[in-house]
């Protein structure tokens, strides 16, 4: 069977535990399959599609066996991925969908948003004012927002105060946006964030504004979020969890199979996103970043 010697991986940003957990999952699996000296090159595209195209071209030029990518755009990569395939490179996607890949494993972002906000609705008794802190204009963010809206739409007594503020997906961004929104809206019952980084930012904002009676939910299930949720009196109550380590592992595993002519059962796998709450947090096995 073909041996795995080098893997090229390109993900969203570095310095974010989610992506470094993806990288870890993939790297560990690659080592397992290809031995300790298998070369795994991890790059960040910062959601610049052109940059990701270049990165993939460079992977092709360096003749990697497999490309594992977190697509920055659902369609734009098609031509370059075709080039990669033509060069005999296995191409698998994780975390997000793209045309021209042989296999995709991703969390169901819409479901993640839906689950998170259903729990949120339940916690506030299906009525009250809710703020949706949005992020940069990319598909995943839209899905998580839309999923949440789906859930909240079922409850006529829930009012969405704001859903169009970009918190840049970062703590500091969410901290500032939330501060401002809290200033604007005297009565807020819950805040939904598109990821845990933002949720922590919102949490800090709520604390500093000395506001009470507000709960937070989000998406990701990152270690920091979970440790916060575990705290007895924390207002951060839930986060629908992804499992980036598994995602990375699975992508490489399946990719290796494809390399050796073993077609996957299904080419698109949507990972479940269980909601982590105070109840089940203790049993949850969290992420393992690099």
């Amino acid at each position: 069977e073909k041996k795995l010697t080098s893997v090229g991986m390109t993900v969203g940003v570095l310095g974010n535990p989610f992506f470094s957990s993806l990288a870890k999952g993939a790297t560990d699996e690659a080592r397992k399959l290809g031995g300790p000296d298998v070369k795994v090159t991890v790059l960040a595209h910062n959601w610049d599609v052109s940059k990701q195209v270049s990165q993939i071209e460079n992977f092709i030029a360096s003749k990697v066996d497999m490309i594992v990518l977190d697509p920055a755009d659902p369609k734009a990569l098609t031509p370059v991925l075709a080039k990669a395939r033509a060069a005999g490179i296995t191409v698998v996607a994780l975390d997000d969908a793209s045309e021209g890949v042989q296999y995709t494993i991703m969390a169901d972002s819409v479901a993640a948003g839906r689950n998170s906000c259903e729990y949120l609705a339940k916690e506030i008794g299906n009525k009250g004012n809710v703020i949706l802190v949005s992020g940069p204009p990319v598909t995943t963010v839209f899905d998580r927002i839309n999923g949440c809206k789906e859930a909240l739409a079922k409850h006529p007594d829930i009012k969405i105060l704001s859903d169009d503020q970009d918190a840049k997906g970062t703590r500091e961004g969410a901290l500032q946006v939330t501060q401002d929104l809290l200033t604007r809206f005297p009565k807020v019952d819950a805040i939904y964030n598109i990821n845990d980084q933002c949720a922590i930012g919102s949490l800090l904002a709520v604390k500093q504004a000395r506001r009470t009676g507000i709960i937070l939910t989000s998406v990701d299930g990152s270690p920091e979020a979970v440790s916060e949720i575990k705290k007895p009196h924390s207002i951060f109550v839930a986060s629908s969890a992804q499992d980036p380590n598994e995602m990375g592992r699975n992508a490489v595993e399946v990719g290796f199979g494809i390399m050796n002519g073993k077609a996957p059962a299904q080419t698109l796998v949507l990972m479940p996103t269980p909601v982590i709450t105070k109840e089940n947090a203790s049993t949850y096995v969290g992420w393992k970043p690099l």
Partner: protein, 355 residues
């Protein structure tokens, strides 16, 4: 003219604040009205749309809120002012912020990064680590620019990238968390003011720190010989050298100060977020420069003031706070922010025309 000026010469008289200041003072005052107009403008817009919101906007808590939000950019911008006054520029402030933030947090968090030398230091040294790492980076920038005579732009563009990479490396691109750091008060604590008991009016330490930095910098620039030399080097490096000023030293000092303030900003950020990672402060350099230039400091050096920078930073802060409170969507915020900056510059021009 000649005649009466002769009389003036005869009477001699005291030195009124010298021109550097005058220009800078004018320029900064020039922006003060703009800030006021902006503030009132927002209030009016909100009032029309919902008086309640408007009163929230001018509320004490939101005012402190704004001050707190600008404090970090302000500290960066003041450091940048030193550099720009010499006629240089420092694009690496955002990266230095991230670097010092992660270094400081590692020191503050035993076992944060297994096997990292930094973790062998006692957590009590965390604050020193923040400032020290920033200072070190600043010194490197300054040394390269002063002694190798590299262009500040390309040099700091390069170090921006390198330092950013180092920031990722020291934490392997992950996140250092520590909710019980000893210096958390910097980020989220407040200074109890005298009348606290009655009014419950306290000032966040972030704001206090920014204020201290501003006053200290004003003092250095306006009252010390070194400050005078910074203006001289920026105004005419050739002449400065011929009057025996140690130009290299002045440059190194300015970049070092900028680095140290970036380190301080790193501490402020880490303390505020109770965490640090390599992505902090991406793109902050442009905000800082914008504040400096809005404040009337000349990019070619020699003219400018800390006061101006403070006002410039406030303009930017009021803008994003106001727009969000007004409920302007983030897309429109981009559009409006740019236009407001242009309007600000324009108003300033008008004022100077008349004056």
């Amino acid at each position: 003219m000649t005649s009466n000026s002769t009389n003036v010469a005869a009477t001699g008289g005291v030195v009124p604040p010298n021109s550097t200041q005058k220009v800078a003072l004018l320029a900064s005052l020039g922006m003060l009205p703009v800030l006021v107009v902006l503030y009132i403008g927002f209030y009016g817009a909100m009032y029309l749309h919902d008086p309640g919101v408007a009163s929230n906007f001018i509320s004490q808590s939101n005012t402190i809120n704004i001050l707190q939000q600008v404090s970090i950019n302000m500290v960066l911008a003041i450091g940048m002012t030193f550099v720009i006054l010499t006629g240089g520029i420092d694009l690496s402030v955002g990266a230095m912020l991230a670097f010092s933030a992660v270094v400081g947090m590692i020191v503050a968090t035993p076992g944060a990064v297994t096997g990292s030398l930094l973790n062998t230091l006692p957590p009590s040294l965390a604050l020193a680590a923040f400032l020290g790492s920033g200072l070190l980076m600043g010194l490197l920038n300054g040394a390269v620019i002063a002694f190798l005579d590299f262009s500040p732009f390309i040099t700091t563009l390069a170090t921006m990238t390198t330092i950013r990479g180092l920031a990722y490396l020291v934490v392997n691109g992950s996140n250092v968390l520590n909710t019980d750091i000893t210096f958390g008060w910097i980020g989220n604590g407040v200074m109890q003011t005298l009348f606290d008991r009655q009014t419950g009016f306290d000032i966040p330490w972030l704001v206090v720190i920014a204020a201290i930095v501003a006053v200290a910098s004003w003092f250095i620039l306006r009252r010390t010989v070194l400050g005078g030399h910074i203006y001289a080097v920026g105004g005419n490096a050739q002449a400065a050298r011929l009057t025996g000023i140690n130009v290299s030293l002045v440059l190194v000092f300015s970049y070092a100060a900028c680095g140290m303030f970036s380190g301080l900003a790193g501490a402020m950020t880490a303390a505020r977020l109770l965490s640090a990672n390599g992505n902090l402060g991406v793109g902050y350099e442009l905000d800082a420069i914008a504040a400096v230039v809005l404040g009337g400091t000349r990019l070619t050096g020699g003219v400018g003031s800390v006061l101006g920078t403070v006002i410039g930073a406030l303009i930017i802060g009021v803008m994003s706070n106001g727009l969000t409170i007004l409920g302007v969507s983030s897309f429109w915020q981009y559009v409006v922010k740019g236009l407001v900056i242009l309007a600000a510059v324009f108003l300033d021009r008008m004022r100077q025309r008349r004056g």
